[in-house]
Symmetry: C2
Amino acid sequence: MAEFAEPIARLIDEFRRLPGIGHKSAQRLAFHVLRSSAEDAERLALAITEVKSRMTFCSVCHNLTDIGQDPCAYCTNPARDQHLLCVVEEPYNVFAIERTGEYKGLYHVLHGALSPLRGIGPDDIRLRSLLERLRTLEVTEVILATNPTTEGEATANYIGCLLKPIGVRTTRLAMGLPVGSDLEYADEVTLHKALAYRREM
Amino acid sequence: MAEFAEPIARLIDEFRRLPGIGHKSAQRLAFHVLRSSAEDAERLALAITEVKSRMTFCSVCHNLTDIGQDPCAYCTNPARDQHLLCVVEEPYNVFAIERTGEYKGLYHVLHGALSPLRGIGPDDIRLRSLLERLRTLEVTEVILATNPTTEGEATANYIGCLLKPIGVRTTRLAMGLPVGSDLEYADEVTLHKALAYRREM
């Protein structure tokens, strides 16, 4: 009797498989589910199965898309600029860029960034298909919009080197002081970038 | 197109309802589910519904029990010492105590601890039923095994005061240095307790 009953032990186990969820969190989540109403639990379970039965990733750009719409709405929209390709780490980064309303080109979602420490190499992210797309697409500029982190930077540099022989213009999102912030509170690395990439007025 | 499709938005929303899961974590979890195999997602969904359809809380001690076994196996086991009642915060605390193999009495699960800061008062935890049980049970000792935290201590003190008029012996788990630790690394409060509760050799 000193062990959890099988259904709760299994739920804890399933929660533990999720990223960033340790044993204690999994336990707390499992007991939360048990305490919540049957409707709430059912809704969570349904949302999980629905997402798998209704959503998938575009076989071209690897962004999120509805099952039945592959290639996705971005890849098949003739109004999008076919000469621009924006490379991001995660599907939700696409939404962040879309919200600016500034970008009307195509996307390529890597599903991760290079990280030797976590054992993520070039074959673990969608790099091969990026190179394949660049062979068929008539892209004039690749915008590297990976995160401004060590891993995102390393990934952008790596892709930059790969694309050099192809001769396509490759740009990187600007790094510098965030708008509305204060010099006083800027970290050293950001301030360093802001100085290094200063513009003529 | 700048918003998530409905199934993924709903799953993010459902994950956010879980305790300790913010917007970023919910997003990461939802995309993890989407990336995992259909079998893995199905297993998680099933574990959630199973736990609700197969497990419940004992109507007597509020511990975890199988549906169909209420009161639970602890409450109905005549081999358990009916004169001892151990009060814990959470169902998983019961398993921690069971694992010691030292305790053979009954349990009472509060499902939380008093926390004025988080708005959790005496009516929000299973205190009323504890007092009712003490009226019918022939308990000679109540062991307060709430956590050695501010909230657990406050709860133990509060219950201690409630039980004083009843005249039942009320004890609290010992606090002090954890076995195998080092004085050097003990925090001040723990060392303070270890000194205050020192025993004769």
